[in-house]
Symmetry: C2
Subunit: 483 residues, 2 copies
């Protein structure tokens, strides 16, 4: 494809994206296809002759319309309230397109110094915006890196923690059996268990600590007990994975108290703030990270969730990068170069499991510049306000109960009643809402009970969309709860 | 950014990319900045007020020109001969822009069925194009998935292999100590050692098998010996990581013979064909994968290297997906849904370490359609022919020696002479070439000797660029070798 062909085709795709965002509300939020429907719309075999010609983009886009869009669950739809949001903003798309166009691979500083240094700058900027310590900057003992997901960040933290706990022996000898333990709450993300399994510890090494019955935050006494029990059994506590904003309910673990324990026991403290961390751009919400700067050894948060930067973009910081690079650095001859050997540069390949890396800093740079601190704060505040309004409507309707605190933009609620019948009604309500196509919500279980999660955070979501959602919920309840 | 603002800004960025590709030969291939130069060009702090306005894209692009481009090592430059290529083609960029615009996250089938099913279709297409077995298709016992990098694919293979070797016990109990071994050649990629470390085995579990002195392929007798020694020591051989196209020299391990041993010992065979695998789109090169379909339990290859699909795009296949999903599946309540519970769909989150995933199939789809089998073959053949021509020029110049077979598009050569002086002259030649700015080559060590790697494979690389490279090499040799 020549530059001129790319000019023409690129304009067509830009137009398609703009137009998709304009007509996004015409689609059912949740895709309605059955398994296999999309595959059946596509040729079983690759083409022998290419389609290279002027009409390529038009044909490709027609097939996206005809064969792909029916199988899309529209994450950018303003009434997508499922999971957590995955904001895709205009400036992020521009930055990502630049990354595609430059086509550089930033595994080492030398393979494109700007890919490393712009990343250092933007993750430092984000650290400033969230009120994180200066020591976490690139010129401190720590530093940040863009990874793909919080799952990878959590796994990376486990590897660094094992390296530190073993004085580096895990790199050569492995983890052994029964020697290390990982602590996280029963409400924490499954990424913690997956990380322990991938790191060779197995799920049996994970201590799922009980939570407070009211706010679903990790119980500090229970954690203390688990640490002491492991010590007594000659098991080394390697890492505590605390959560700021759990996936189920946005519960916030007491980082300061946990951190005090972590320090006492010399255990690595990783803070998984995948969804919620970015909310700290608002000074009035910065309390969610209380204790993090003082006690955490690492933390991650996902601009690709609630901070307007297209997937994938997780930012992972360490307070001290020694154990991180100790765990992950392998330097074969074919990657050696004078800059690396000088020690004067950071080679980000030693900061994550992958070797190759895309120039993801461009999209975060574009976002932070387009919005600025003011714009990011306005973005977060708008959703928090909408969530508080929605929660108040739920609270005032006797047919529902709020099941967890909702300090941010997720509201968890269910049909009133503490029995299986309430579970069934809540499930029926969820299914009816999603089948309607006007909105999409997902579920969790809280205290064992089926619970609907309404996560606000879409770039296009307005007060009207939240009011419409509440109207749909009430109408569905009218029909289901009186049946 | 409104859709109209995105239209205008998107057109500007498309124009910038097209123009960048037109003027790419005006830049020195290897960036000339010193450590810290790029950071110093950028503001130390994030902006308080955003830059949201009509002129945003122009300002952003001006800063890319002024602050970023000096720090770019131009991977798309036609005289970039370092590492392996990282092809970024027009159709791939269009597909990637569509992925950004749709902004879906395909962790589960339900979160966008098309994101899973289009991926199944295009990885099946690629399997067909490479002559891989029908059983590796989505409707067979195996299947393919797009991952980010071959490092991740190799790591994933190690996890699946451990799961199978332990009858699933590693998922709960971990890997224990001293119980499992990993086999790979001394010429294999460092990703194998990194994977063993990350999986909790430690580098001591890796047996780096000797290679044949002439073609640098894994020695089968040495492998047999290592397997027997481990069995005798009650260590379980878990996985053999064989390579088709090593990073140093594109050596091709004897897959059929290794596979026979693997089957005899019940060991998982993973084939790392990151760079070379895609060459099998050409029937006359399909011999490189001889034995893979019959014996391999998994294989990966990177369309983001030599097959025109922007980073990141590694395709990883398994012959049987049971151990893969057994090793990686963790299903928390908040991810449950009727489609997953039915077992009728594939949830790709269980096929890699990450949970979230981008819609990467779009870019591979666009590439396979634009080029077709014919176009992909022409792309590979052109580079193989250029490499053979280059190798013949080196062979005819008594000042140089070719140090390894060059069946594909990488040529390894060094200054003649088997002593440290030859190493120093080869290094001096490498440095002089890269300092000149007209081309970029990297190095390795082969048989302990400093060696220059010239990897052909750029989308824009023509015969003239390769002839120019040879002229530069000869001129540098004239100056250095006679000094």
């Amino acid at each position: 494809m020549s530059p001129d062909e790319f000019r023409a085709a690129g304009r067509e795709v830009v137009e398609w994206v703009a137009s998709y965002l304009e007509r996004i509300e015409t689609f059912p939020v949740l895709s309605r296809v059955a398994p296999g429907d999309i595959r059946r719309r596509l040729p079983a075999h690759p083409p022998q002759s290419g389609e290279a010609s002027d009409g390529f983009a038009s044909r490709l886009l027609a097939d996206v319309d005809g064969a792909v869009l029916p199988g899309i669950t529209h994450w950018q739809h303003p009434s997508f309230f499922g999971y957590f949001p995955a904001n895709a903003s205009g400036p992020a798309m521009l930055g990502d397109l630049l990354a595609s166009g430059l086509g550089v691979q930033g595994m080492s500083w030398i393979t494109s110094p700007a890919c490393t240094e712009l990343e250092q700058v933007v993750v430092d900027w984000l650290a400033d915006l969230l009120g994180l310590p200066a020591g976490w900057h690139a010129d401190g003992p720590g530093g940040g890196v863009i990874q793909d997901t919080a799952s990878t960040a959590t796994f990376t933290a486990v590897l660094a923690a094992l390296h530190r706990a073993s004085d580096g022996r895990t790199a050569t000898e492995g983890v052994g059996s029964g020697r290390y333990a990982v602590y996280t709450s029963i409400e924490a993300h499954s990424a913690g268990i997956k990380a322990a399994r991938m790191a060779g510890l197995g799920s049996a090494a994970v201590r799922q600590i009980e939570v407070d019955a009211k706010d679903f935050a990790m119980s500090v006494p229970a954690l203390a007990q688990a640490l002491a029990a492991d010590r007594a059994a000659d098991v080394t506590p390697a890492i505590i994975i605390a959560t700021v904003g759990t996936t189920s309910t946005t519960a916030i673990d007491p980082i300061r108290a946990i951190g005090t324990l972590a320090r006492e026991h010399g255990v690595w403290l990783h803070v998984d703030a995948a969804y919620a961390g970015v909310a700290a751009v608002c000074p009035e919400l910065r309390w969610i990270l209380d204790g993090v700067g003082e006690f955490a050894d690492s933390m991650c948060t996902n601009p690709h969730k609630w901070l307007l930067t297209n997937f994938d973009c997780d930012v992972f910081w360490v307070a001290d990068r020694t154990a991180l690079t100790g765990a992950l650095s392998v330097l074969p001859e074919f990657l050696r170069n004078a800059a690396t050997d000088s020690g004067a540069v950071v080679d980000y390949r030693d900061w994550h499991p992958q070797l190759g890396r895309r120039f993801r800093a461009l999209k975060l740079w574009a976002v932070l510049r387009w919005y600025g601190a003011d714009g990011l704060q306005a973005h977060i505040r708008r959703h928090v306000e909408l969530a508080q309004a929605f929660a108040s409507w739920v609270r005032d309707d006797a047919r529902f109960v709020l099941v967890a605190p909702h300090p941010l933009s997720l509201v968890c609620f269910r049909v009133a009643g503490d029995d299986d019948a309430a579970d069934r009604l809540t499930s029926a309500l969820l299914d009816a809402l999603n089948a309607g196509g006007r909105l999409f919500v997902t579920h969790t279980r809280v205290g064992g009970r089926m619970t609907i999660r309404l996560a606000i955070g879409g770039l296009l979501t307005t007060g009207q969309h939240v009011r419409d959602a509440w109207r749909d919920i009430q109408e569905a309840a009218d029909s289901i709860l009186t049946a």
